[in-house]
Amino acid sequence: MDKPVNNRAWWLVAPVFAIVAFSAILPIMTVVNYSVQDTFGNNQFFWNGLGWFQELLDPSTELGGRFFDALWRNLLFSAIILAIEVPLGILVALSMPREGWRVAATLVIMALPLLIPWNVVGTIWQVFARADIGLLGYGLNALGIDYNYTGDTLSAWITIVVMDVWHWTSLVALLCYAGLKSIPDAYYQAARIDGASRWAVFTTIQLPKMKRVLLIAVLLRFMDSFMIYTEPFVLTGGGPGNATTFLSIDLVKLALGQFDLGKAAAMSLVYNLIVLALCWVFYTVMTHAGSERPDQGSAA
């Protein structure tokens, strides 16, 4: 116990505390504060206890109904884009060149969609898919396919999914490509010597070696798609009807459109908890799936 006790070091941490307090703790506590009150404007608030939460989690109420509808939409959307973007990203990564000037060219092209601001992505597709002037929308209708994303639910969903795939598959592909590049040539040579088929090389070498980056890719894509807001907001504004109203869009409608701060606060807290819980589950499941610790010493 002859270590000198010196608490002055805490002063060095103080700025971080201050920043975190103002950027995270205070806003969240404000939301918590709103979530237990009701307001009718004029900056008048009334205590409501856990009322909003009870209503929110009960699908038979108006609030609970729209919350669960949006939640299912969100989960469906995330499932669809993961099911498309992950295999597609792996496929793209596998067919990317491994050396020469083509590598740089491909990487730049792949990175382009990632560099476009999200609202611009939405605008691009909004124009591109318009049935009257957009190349895609006009073309499809000219081919005799009935397509109108502002009026038809299926068209709207297909457009949003395709837009997300266009926007984000690059990310999965680039991550997988990095994973593939890190595999030493000896593995491929050994596989050739062992007479492995192309499919066996993929399942026994490439996929296991890509596991870590794939975990990151799935996590990132899941979180981003679960919190999607800008692109569908610009493209469809949540319509037709409520067909593409995801949780975040609904939240904004509730908070800024209807100024139901209490309901919106309760919803955003539950939304936040769902995101956290799902990420935790994902992460735990996927890290435990492949974490047999290597043991030293007791070999052969």
Binding site: P184, A186, Y187, Q189, A190, R192, I193, D194, G195, A196, S197, A200, T204, I205, P208, K209, E292, R293, P294, D295, Q296, G297, A299, A300
Partner: protein, 363 residues
């Protein structure tokens, strides 16, 4: 099982090789017999890995042919060649158990299940890996993983040759000996042709019965470890093999005398046909040069004496040229002058780096 014939083999990584300087591997003609243990020895960049990759089929040679048992395989892909290779870094299939790893090459060749199981058990017991058969291969140590990569080659009954590309690089020193003796045992028991690439002379000399020394893309000598030691065909072999390497001293040869500066050395043979204009050198291993009291043998100047454990090595200067010599037990030196006795029959003469055979040896 196969003999391997290298027929006028040469390889350049450039598409249009102009002169010899463009060749990573200069022309080679060799026949490696079935069941031999060969080591390709040389410093980094000498072309030994290129040669190995040509044999395994990962590289197609620019010129020449390669034959297994007389059959031309030059253009056959790796998987059709019946060779196995152990790489510098252990390659195991992470998701599989040791058993699945060993069965993998046989499964890919669609052998019956019982044959595979029997063969895997057999090889596992040879490699002393029966206990770990059902463990995940990725959890084993580096030496165990190298044994698995070796095992994947051994399970195939038809394997023509096993190639080793510096397989002990990542193995702990105390396990290197163990793994190397496992290799030697397997070689004896299975009558396999083994080709072992290394830059470590100890590994090469203890593993192989024939060592192929390579330098600058060319084979400079092929021989048993004894031949490499006693009759280095090139000054490079003299330098590279042995510790310390051979003494190479510029000399002028007249009859049975070689003159190093103003010091005359008696030779066992005469060299009447030395090519004119080439650099003439005298080579003698430190093991055949013994330091003596001043006044006996050739006059030398002692710079320093190193104790290397099993012997003491004197660093001397002979007519201004550095050389190394053994210091016999109990020799007391007076000042920095001493004498040097050379074993006359172990003195070699090199012209332009290449050994010259003398004429009229004594006795």
């Amino acid at each position: 099982m196969a003999s391997i014939t290298l027929d006028h083999l040469a390889h350049a990584y450039r598409p249009d090789p102009q002169g010899p300087q463009d060749y990573a591997l200069k022309e080679i003609n060799h026949v490696w017999r079935q069941g031999g243990a060969y080591a390709l020895l040389g410093p980094s960049g000498c072309g030994k890995t290129t040669l190995l990759n040509i044999i395994s089929g990962l590289v197609t040679p620019t010129r020449g042919r390669i034959l297994f048992d007389g059959k031309d395989v030059t253009n056959l892909p790796t998987e059709a060649r019946n060779i196995a290779q152990v790489f510098q870094f252990p390659v195991v299939y992470d998701t599989m158990t040791v058993r699945e790893n060993l069965a993998f090459p046989l499964k890919n060749r669609h052998l019956p299940r019982e044959t595979i199981a029997k063969r895997v058990e057999e090889i596992a017991s040879r490699l002393d890996m029966t206990r770990v058969l059902d463990r995940k291969a990725s959890n084993l140590t580096a030496d165990a993983k190298q044994k698995i990569s070796l095992g994947r080659g051994l399970v195939r009954a038809d394997v023509a040759a096993i190639l080793f590309d510096e397989p002990l690089t990542v193995i702990d020193p105390h396990l290197k000996w163990q793994l190397r003796s496992t290799l030697k045992e397997l070689h004896r028991a299975l009558d396999l042709t083994m080709i072992y690439v290394t830059h470590d002379q100890t590994e090469a000399l203890t593993f192989a019965d024939t060592v192929v020394v390579m330098h600058d893309g060319a084979v400079v000598q092929t021989g048993t470890p004894e031949e490499l030691f006693e009759r280095p065909a090139h000054t490079f072999v003299g330098h590279f093999i042995g510790s310390p390497g051979m003494n190479v001293l510029p000399a002028r040869v007249e009859g049975r005398l070689a003159h190093i500066g103003n010091v005359a050395v008696a030779l066992a043979r005469a060299y009447p046909a030395l090519p004119a204009g080439e650099r003439i050198e005298l080579g003698v291993r430190p093991e055949f040069a013994t330091l003596a009291r001043a006044g006996t043998g050739l006059p030398v100047k002692v710079k320093r004496i190193d104790d290397i454990g099993r012997a003491r090595i004197a660093r001397v200067e002979i007519a201004g040229h550095p050389a190394a010599a053994l210091v016999p037990e109990g020799l007391a030196l007076d000042g920095d002058t001493a004498g040097l006795n050379l074993e006359t029959r172990q003195i070699h003469i090199y012209a332009g780096g290449v050994l010259v055979a003398g004429e009229g040896g004594v006795g």
